[in-house]
Symmetry: C2
Subunit: 440 residues, 2 copies
């Protein structure tokens, strides 16, 4: 399988070296090693992200608390109302909840009965609404893991390449944790995301180029003395960072009463979130916290950036990069690192990957707002738009329990709906003017 | 005391009449009547808001569950993670949690140690962060009560006069509840608030005038056939609506471990929120859920709309209306209905009312973002700015437990910080460009 290996895995330097060298002395809870997703080779916990043998991506391997599912369930339920209730399953220290961080997660799982009626869904339809996170996107979940890894490895600057949401999440988390931040974004983002990325007081660098240019630049920086001592949450801390998306799987199942959904619809940017939700669901089965039964995972992309959807429909294993052109900027990753794994998961579980155009994205944002009072960002519009399309095409089963992810907040992508979401009328403050406007 | 009585209390009409006439047959949990805050006269529960005897404002009177504080505490703690855990203390049906609504509340109480250090606070400093609510302001709390009252009284259209946040909260809540909405705002609001107020699909009417003009217009509309069958959450449903702010008091105390804070700093728009937080604290004492001890309540206004602060400093009982001119538009109520009650409470508890200018508001927004990773709207900047001023003036005691409210979200008032919150640098994607920018 084609895996996008990053150039070098030996770029850790500065304060990170000692911790990385120390390996197992790093205390990140149940995390015991990094293992290569391609060849299975194991490495001590450290700020590395690509296999020294085959350049495959590394992920966290655990010693999970098996054997007492009831005890584990009770322990989780007695935990805090945030992701740290799942600390026994995450690469974080046991006392993580006591440290200064944004405590994201345990966002609402909304039973969307009005929406179900409109879509002709007769089973349960739920929206997992991550706009309720501290900086209003799911990124707070992954950044929270990266902060703990950064602390463990002695990094003092937190960094990232970002389509906007992540830069805000990193800026906020670094502020609370007392770390410096320096984040990188494409130069043409929505105002809300730019301001939010800057307001927490860290350095914010706008790059003249696409997200993929920003990403390449960060890979260069990490091998350069200028990036010494920096924890890039989605590069050299990526194995830890990515695990944060598992919490979406945990929460969905717990909020369904420790039950797996039948179908999940998940947006695809790099594809990492989708693969980690699958990992989280499998862990819950292995731990005996949910009944072992099949589930299907569906991926959602915007037509203007649909490399994974295109590959899925063509029956390819390889994802061919695209140059993005879509209003769903938070999903505009033309060269998605986890694309091949997404294809695997969609095919293995009997799911699919589909895409919708910008008009369908806007329609879906407004549909969700009108039916459930949830204002999603464009990524949420993509996911709901694809859900609608898959229902219309008979690919999604309307009689089953389906969970659709909203990963961000409409306030950050106002431009998408602003042209069609304004006052019905502008009038003088008089009853006559009100009647003349035809609203009485 | 000067109370701003509304012109008429006999404007209820249409479907409301029967319910209002039925009085006690309306089932709103522990709510048993409406009572006049001025003369004490009681009225059956109905969509009325001013005393027929003296034109004083009406508020909800309860038959609260006294006598078993431990049982009540356990019942609350076993409740849902939203305001409905306090349903036994609110004017809502006992089965409210099962009905379609936005389930706001139980937002984070953030222990703000970084901020405390910057401000020289040696006691506990907490931010009650209501940006975590479904539409990202405290308004979701009050609207949720109004929705239940609207249902009880048979209203099918939900309406309000709003400075922006409320219109969004009403639009979203109506969408989820399956009600029509028609909301009214001044014509010059921030784009984020306008789009959010419109996106949920109800009618949104922009009025050429200030908030006070909008408010007057709604009072006219409610007495007109054009407003028949409409529940104006902050006019004819105001007694119920306002009670939602009590939940801030409940949550703060529960999250402190069933303990009263020593000092609270609360923003003042109409003043209703501050008075209801005081009411909620007194109820907790009466119910035996917290120890009876003194607390001080401080009110915060923007200098450009400071009628209550001006009256407080002048030693007046009467609040003289002002024409607002401040970036804190959600607090820009020049003629605050509950102003006199705020003065009473600040004086009775040993608190104060203070104001800050727009520059101090922006500084405070950025201070909170930089220290705690919380991006507040201008109202939050006013409250923290006043907190800082009161500490500097020696009015707030830095050694005590202090809670500061952030009632809204910075994403809705981007213009306040956008001029000073942008990228540190805009560069080509190259290491040379990065070094040239002086960031390495």
């Amino acid at each position: 399988m084609a895996v996008q290996a990053v150039e070098s895995s030996t770029t850790s330097s500065g304060p990170a070296d000692s911790a990385a060298a120390a390996g197992s002395s790093v205390s990140l809870g149940p995390a015991v090693a990094l293992s290569c997703r391609e060849c299975g080779e194991r490495f001590p916990l450290g700020p590395i992200f690509a296999c020294a043998e085959c350049f495959g991506p590394l992920e966290v391997a655990y010693d999970l608390p098996t054997g007492d599912p009831e005890g584990l369930r009770r322990r989780i339920e007695a935990g805090p109302n945030n992701i740290w209730r799942y600390a026994p399953l995450l690469p974080v220290p046991a006392d993580v909840a006591d440290k200064p961080n944004l405590n994201p997660g345990f966002t609402k799982l909304v039973k969307a009965d009005n929406l179900a009626r409109e879509l002709g869904v007769t089973g349960e339809l739920h929206i997992k609404d991550d706009s309720g996170n501290p900086t209003h996107s799911f990124k707070d979940r992954v950044v929270a893991q990266a902060v703990e890894a950064a602390r463990a490895f002695g990094f003092t600057t937190l960094s990232c390449s970002s389509t906007g949401n992540l830069a805000g999440a990193v800026g906020a988390a670094a502020a609370r944790a007392g770390l410096r931040s320096c984040t990188f974004i494409p130069h043409d983002l929505e105002q809300g995301k730019v301001v939010m990325a800057a307001v927490y007081g860290g350095d914010l660098v706008a790059i003249e180029g696409t997200y993929d240019d920003v990403n390449r630049f960060c890979s260069e920086l990490i091998g350069d003395p200028a990036g010494e001592g920096w924890g890039f949450v989605n590069v050299n801390l990526r194995p830890y960072y990515a695990e944060g998306s598992k919490t979406l799987a945990y929460e969905i199942c717990e909020q369904l009463g420790w039950r797996l959904p039948d179908q999940l619809v998940i947006p695809i940017a790099s594809g990492s979130q989708l693969t980690k939700i699958d990992k989280g669901l499998k862990e819950l089965i292995e731990l005996g916290l949910v009944e072992d039964k099949p589930y299907k995972i569906f991926g959602a992309q915007a037509e203007g950036c649909s490399p994974v959807s295109t590959a899925f429909k063509a029956g390819h294993d390889v994802v061919r990069p695209q140059k993005p052109n879509t209003i769903a900027k938070s999903l505009a990753i033309g060269n998605p690192a986890d694309g091949p794994y997404v294809l695997d998961i969609a095919r293995r579980t009997g799911g699919a990957v589909e895409d919708v155009n910008d008009e369908q994205v806007v329609d879906a944002i407004k549909l969700l707002a009108r039916t459930e009072g949830i204002f999603a960002e464009t990524a949420g519009g993509v996911t709901l738009g694809v859900t609608r399309k898959l229902l219309e095409n008979g690919v999604l089963d309307p009689t089953l329990t389906t969970v659709v992810l909203n990963t961000g907040d409409g306030l950050k992508t106002l431009d998408a709906v602003a042209p069609t979401s304004g006052p019905t009328a502008v009038i003088r403050p008089s009853l006559d003017a009100f009647r003349d406007a035809g609203l009485a």
